[in-house]
C-alpha cells in the first residue's frame, strides 16, 4: 500500500547519503524521475520569467517611468517571452507527458529511456545557455548583455550589423539545442504511444491524454524542426557570413518571418493540446461521467493538428501580403475555431447531467473553459485580417495570447498539478490553500489580462518601454500592473502549498479521486517498475470496469 512505497520516492528522505541520491537523479532514465525533473526545472524558470514580467509591468505602471532603462526593458520582454515558451511551457508539458504517458497506457517506461534523459538534459542545457548570456553576453566590445531582439527575433535586427556582441548567439544556440531536445522527446512520445500500450489498449481505447500528446508530438516533429533549421541559418549568417536574412545583400527579412511562424503558430497548439488533454482527463472524473463524444474529441484533435500547420501567416497580416494571401490565412485561421469549439462543447456535454465536485483541479478546469472561450473569441477577431491590421502588434494581441497561455494553459497546468500531485508525491495538497490560490489567481488574472485588451484598442503598441501620457492608456496600465502582483501572491501560495504538502501532506492513497485511468491502479507514488503485472484493458476506463463489474464500459463503447 501507499505507506510502504513512499520511501521509494525521491522527495521523501531515504537512508542513502545526499550525494548518492543526487547522483541517482542526475543519472536517472526513469520516466517518472525525468518527468519530475522537467517540472521542477520549469517551475524554477517560471519564477524567473515571472520576475521579468513584474519588472516589465512596474516599468509600464505610469507613463514616462524610469524604473529601468530601455535596454534593460527590451532584454526583459525578450527573455520573458523566450523563457516562458521554451523553458517553462514546453518542458513543463513534456514533463507531465513523460510522467503520465507510460502510466496511463500501462507501460513500464518510455520507448527510449536514455533518449528521454538526453532530451531533458539538452533542454536544461539550453535554458542555462540562454541565461548564461547575462554573464557572457558582453563579448569583446560594447555589446550589452542578454538577448534583446524580441522572442520572434525578426531579421535583420538579429544580424551582426544590428546586434553586436554575443547576446543573440546565446539566444539562437539555446533555442537550437533545446529544440533538438524537444524533437527527441517527440520521437519518444510517439514511439511510446504507438509501441508500448498494454494489451487490449487499442488506439480507440487510449486515454485522451495519450491521444492529444500523440498529436502534439507529431506537431513538434513538423514544427520545431523548421525552427531548428532557421536557427542553423541564423548561425551561418552570424558566424560564417552567410546572407540568408541579411537584407543588405539581398537576403529576405520576410523569409525569417515565414520560417519562424511555421514553427510559431503550431507551437501554440503544441502547448494548448496537452492542456486540452489535462482538461479531458480531469473534467470527466470530477463530473463523474465519461468524456462526451470521445471519437469526436480525437477527430477534432487531429483536425487541429492538421489545420494548425496552415495558419502561420496570420501573424504576418501586416507585412503586406497580397490580398489572396490574406484571404487564405483568414479562412484557415477561422476554420480552426470549429474543431476547437467542438472541444469546448464536448467538455460542457461531459459536465451536463453529471454530479460535479468542485475540488481545486475542477475549479481550475472550469475557469479554463470560461477563459478559453474568451481567448477563442478574441482569436476570431484577430483572424479577420483587416481587424488584425489594427490589432496586431498592439496590447490587444498581447492580452489575447496571454489569455491563451495563462488563462487556458497555465490554468489547466495548475489543475494538472493538483490532480496528479497525490500520485506523484503520495500526499494530498491542502485544499484550503488551493482554493485561496485559485480565487486570488482568478482575480489577478482578470485584473491583468481583461484590462490589457483596452490600451491595445486605444493604439498602444507592444514592446515599448514607455509611453506618452494623455493617450488614454494610463489607468489601464496601472490596473494591469496591480493585477500582476495579485497573481504573484497567488503563485506564492501555490508554491508554499506544494512545498508544505510534499513533506507534511496527508497520505493520499492510490486513488484519491475515484478515477478511472491506469495510473490510479498503482501505488502513489508508483514503484520504479510502475506495474507489478502489466495490466490488460477492455475499455477506455479500465478502473470503472473494475469498480462497476455489473455495468462495465466495454458493453457500450
Amino acid at each position: 500500500m501507499a505507506s510502504d512505497t513512499i520511501a521509494i520516492n525521491g522527495f521523501a528522505a531515504g537512508d542513502k547519503p545526499i550525494g548518492e541520491r543526487l547522483h541517482g537523479w542526475v543519472t536517472t532514465v526513469d520516466h517518472k524521475r525525468l518527468g519530475i525533473l522537467y517540472i521542477v526545472y520549469s517551475l524554477f524558470f517560471l519564477v524567473i520569467a515571472g520576475i521579468e514580467a513584474t519588472i516589465i509591468r512596474i516599468q509600464l505602471m505610469v507613463p514616462h517611468n524610469h524604473f529601468v532603462s530601455p535596454e534593460v526593458f527590451n532584454r526583459m520582454f525578450t527573455m520573458h517571452g523566450t523563457t516562458m515558451i521554451f523553458f517553462v511551457a514546453m518542458p513543463i508539458l513534456f514533463g507531465f507527458g513523460t510522467y503520465l504517458i507510460p502510466l496511463m497506457i500501462g507501460a513500464r517506461d518510455m520507448a527510449f529511456p536514455r533518449l528521454n534523459a538526453l532530451s531533458f538534459w539538452l533542454t536544461a542545457f539550453g535554458g542555462l545557455l540562454l541565461y548564461f548570456s547575462f554573464v557572457g553576453g558582453n563579448g569583446l566590445y560594447g555589446a550589452g548583455n542578454a538577448p534583446d531582439v524580441g522572442w520572434f527575433a525578426y531579421a535583420p535586427l538579429t544580424s551582426r550589423a544590428f546586434s553586436v556582441g554575443h547576446s543573440t548567439d546565446f539566444w539562437t544556440l539555446a533555442l537550437l539545442i533545446s529544440g533538438i531536445g524537444s524533437i527527441g522527446t517527440a520521437v519518444n512520445f510517439i514511439a511510446t504511444i504507438i509501441t508500448m500500450r498494454c494489451p487490449g489498449m487499442t488506439l480507440g481505447k487510449m486515454p485522451l491524454l495519450a491521444w492529444m500528446n500523440l498529436v502534439t508530438a507529431g506537431m513538434v516533429l513538423l514544427a520545431v524542426s523548421p525552427l531548428t533549421a532557421a536557427q542553423v541559418m541564423l548561425c551561418f549568417d552570424r558566424y560564417l557570413g552567410a546572407h540568408f536574412f541579411d537584407t543588405q545583400a539581398g537576403g529576405s527579412a520576410v523569409l525569417w518571418m515565414h520560417f519562424f511562424w511555421i514553427f510559431g503558430h503550431p507551437e501554440v497548439y503544441i502547448l494548448i493540446l496537452p492542456s486540452f488533454a489535462f482538461a479531458s482527463e480531469i473534467i470527466p472524473v470530477f463530473s463523474r461521467k465519461p468524456i462526451f463524444g470521445y471519437p469526436v474529441m480525437v477527430a477534432a484533435t487531429v483536425m487541429i493538428g492538421f489545420i494548425s500547420m496552415s495558419v502561420w501567416a496570420h501573424h504576418m497580416f501586416s507585412i503586406g501580403m497580397p490580398s489572396y494571401g490574406n484571404t487564405f490565412f483568414t479562412i484557415t485561421s477561422m476554420v480552426i475555431a470549429v474543431p476547437t469549439g467542438i472541444k469546448i462543447f464536448n467538455w460542457i456535454g461531459t459536465m451536463w447531467g453529471g454530479k460535479i465536485r468542485f475540488n481545486a483541479p475542477m475549479l481550475f478546469c472550469v475557469a479554463f473553459l470560461f477563459q478559453f472561450l474568451i481567448a477563442g473569441l478574441t482569436g476570431i477577431m484577430l483572424a479577420a485580417s483587416p481587424f488584425n491590421w489594427q490589432l496586431t502588434g498592439s496590447y490587444f494581441v498581447v492580452a489575447h495570447f496571454h489569455y491563451v497561455i495563462v488563462g487556458a494553459i497555465l490554468f489547466t497546468l495548475f489543475a494538472a498539478f493538483y490532480y496528479w500531485f497525490p500520485k506523484m508525491s503520495g500526499r494530498m495538497y491542502s485544499e484550503t490553500l488551493a482554493k485561496w490560490h485559485f480565487w486570488l489567481f482568478v482575480i489577478g488574472f482578470h485584473l491583468t489580462f481583461d484590462f490589457m485588451h483596452i490600451p491595445g484598442l486605444l493604439g498602444m503598441p507592444r514592446r515599448i518601454y514607455t509611453y506618452e501620457p494623455g493617450r488614454g492608456w494610463d489607468i489601464w496600465n496601472l490596473i494591469v500592473t496591480i493585477g500582476t502582483f495579485v497573481q504573484g501572491i497567488a503563485v506564492l501560495i501555490f508554491v508554499v502549498n506544494l512545498l508544505w504538502s510534499v513533506f507534511k501532506g496527508e497520505p493520499a492513497g492510490n486513488d484519491p479521486w475515484d478515477a478511472w485511468t491506469l495510473e490510479w491502479s498503482t501505488t502513489s507514488p508508483p514503484p520504479d517498475y510502475n506495474f507489478a503485472t502489466i495490466p490488460t484493458v477492455e475499455s477506455r476506463r479500465p478502473l470503472w470496469d473494475l469498480k462497476h463489474p455489473e455495468d462495465p464500459d466495454w458493453k457500450y463503447e
Binding site: 525578426y154 535586427l157 544590428f162 537584407t247 543588405q248 537576403g251 529576405s252 527579412a253 463530473s287 461521467k289 462526451f292 470521445y294 501586416s318 507585412i319 503586406g320 497580397p322 490580398s323 490574406n326 483568414t330 477561422m334 475555431a337 470549429v338 467542438i342 460542457i348 456535454g349 451536463w352 447531467g353 453529471g354 454530479k355 460535479i356 472550469v366 473553459l369 470560461f370 472561450l373 474568451i374 473569441l377 478574441t378 476570431i380 477577431m381 479577420a384 483587416p386 491590421w389 489594427q390 490589432l391 502588434g393 480565487w439 482578470h446 481583461d450 483596452i454 484598442l457 486605444l458 493604439g459 503598441p461 514592446r463 518601454y465 509611453y467 494623455g470 493617450r471 488614454g472 457500450y556
Partner: protein
C-alpha cells in the same frame, strides 16, 4: 464538502463570473460607445479615414457575432456549473453514464461552421476593398522610409523631403485626394500605424509596401511605430497633420524653398558646417548633404524633435544637441559635446531654419 460551503462556493463563482461579464461590457462600452474624446487618443474605434472606417465596420460585425456566441456559451456554462454540481443530499450513486450523441455533435459542428462562413465572406470583402483600392488621379504620393528611430517622408512628385511630421491634405468624398504611401526601410523592420487613419503596414528592408489614407477631417492624428525596431522603438512616434487643401499647398510651397540665410546666425552655421552635423543631416542650399539623419532644411516648421519625443523648443533643442540620451536614450545621434557658446550659436542657427 458541507452543503453550506458548497453553496457559498457557488455564490462566489457566480459573482466572479458576473464580474467577468462586467469587465467585458466595460471593454465594449469604453472602446466603442465612449463620447468623442480628444483626438490625442488613437482609438481604433474612432475612424476618420476610409481604410480605418471599413475596418471599424467589419470589427463591429465581428464583435457583435462574438458577443452573441459569448452570451450563449457563457450562459450554457453557468447553467451547467450551477445545475449539475453535486448537492449535499447526494445519494452516492454515479450519475447516468452518457458516452456521446452524434446528432448533438453534428449540430455543434455545422452551426459554428456556418458562422465562420459568414464571418469569412464579410472579411474577404473588406480585405479586397482596402487592399486593392484603385488609385484616383488626384492622389498624393508619399514615400515613407523608416529609420532607427525616425521617419523620413519624401513627396517625389512635389519635390519635398521632410521628417517625422507627415502633412497630407484632407480628402473630400466628392473630390477625393487620398494619400498613397510607399513604405520602405533603411535598416530594421518598422510599422506605420496611425489607428484612426488605417491599420498598420510594416516597413521591411528589401520589401516595399503600400498603404493609403484619405482623412475626412483636418487635425493632428497620432500613432507610433508598431514593429519592434531596436532600443528606442518606444519613441519612434508618428504625427500626421491633415491640412485643408489650401494649407497643404502653402506648406508644400514653403517646404520646397531652400533654407533662408540669416546673417545673424552665421557663426552657428559655420559651426554646423564644420562639425559632424553635415555627415548625417541635409540643409538644402548649403554644403550639408547627409542623409543618415532627418533633413533639417525647414526643421523649425515642425512642432517636435526626435521623432515626436520632445517639443521643438530652444531648451529641448539645446539638450538634444548636447546629449541626445537625455531625451531619447539609445538614439543614434551622437552627443556633440560643444561648449556653451558654440551650443548657443548652433541652436540659434537651427532656429533660423524655418
Amino acid at each position: 464538502m458541507k452543503p453550506c460551503a458548497q453553496s457559498r462556493g457557488l455564490v462566489c463563482k457566480v459573482a466572479g463570473l458576473a464580474l467577468l461579464l462586467g469587465f467585458l461590457l466595460l471593454i465594449a462600452t469604453v472602446c466603442s460607445a465612449a463620447p468623442a474624446g480628444p483626438s490625442q487618443i488613437p482609438n481604433i474605434f474612432k475612424p476618420d479615414s476610409t481604410p480605418a472606417d471599413s475596418i471599424f465596420r467589419l470589427s463591429r460585425l465581428v464583435l457583435i457575432i462574438c458577443a452573441l456566441i459569448f452570451v450563449v456559451v457563457f450562459s450554457l456554462m453557468v447553467y451547467v456549473v450551477a445545475k449539475f454540481r453535486r448537492r449535499g443530499a447526494d445519494d452516492g450513486h454515479e450519475p447516468p453514464q452518457v458516452y456521446g450523441s452524434n446528432q448533438v455533435e453534428l449540430a455543434w459542428t455545422v452551426i459554428p461552421g456556418l458562422i465562420v462562413l459568414v464571418l469569412f465572406l464579410a472579411t474577404a470583402r473588406v480585405i479586397l476593398s482596402v487592399q486593392d483600392a484603385p488609385k484616383p488621379p488626384g492622389a498624393i504620393e508619399v514615400v515613407a522610409i523608416g529609420h532607427q528611430y525616425w521617419w523620413e517622408y519624401r513627396y517625389p512628385a512635389l519635390g519635398v523631403v521632410t521628417a517625422n511630421e507627415l502633412h497630407v491634405p484632407v480628402s473630400d468624398p466628392q473630390h477625393p485626394t487620398p494619400t498613397f504611401i510607399t513604405l520602405l526601410s533603411a535598416d530594421t523592420d518598422h510599422s506605420f500605424w496611425v489607428p484612426r487613419l488605417a491599420g498598420k503596414t510594416d516597413l521591411i528592408p528589401n520589401h516595399p509596401n503600400h498603404t493609403w489614407i484619405d482623412p475626412h477631417e483636418t487635425g493632428l492624428f497620432l500613432g507610433q511605430c508598431a514593429q519592434y525596431c531596436g532600443v528606442q522603438h518606444a519613441k519612434m512616434l508618428l504625427r500626421v497633420y491633415v491640412d485643408s487643401g489650401a494649407d497643404f499647398n502653402a506648406w508644400i510651397q514653403s517646404e520646397k524653398k531652400s533654407a533662408v540665410t540669416d546673417d545673424a546666425a552665421i557663426e552657428g552655421r559655420h559651426i554646423f558646417e564644420s562639425t559632424a552635423c553635415v555627415n548625417c543631416h541635409a540643409v538644402s542650399g548649403t554644403v550639408a548633404d547627409g542623409h543618415f539623419g532627418p533633413d533639417l532644411t525647414h526643421m523649425m516648421s515642425r512642432d517636435t524633435i526626435a521623432a515626436g519625443a520632445a517639443a521643438n523648443t530652444r531648451e529641448n533643442l539645446r539638450a538634444w544637441i548636447q546629449s541626445p540620451d537625455s531625451i531619447k536614450p539609445g538614439s543614434l545621434m551622437p552627443a556633440m559635446k560643444l561648449n556653451d557658446h558654440d551650443l548657443d550659436a548652433l541652436t540659434s542657427y537651427l532656429e533660423t531654419l524655418r
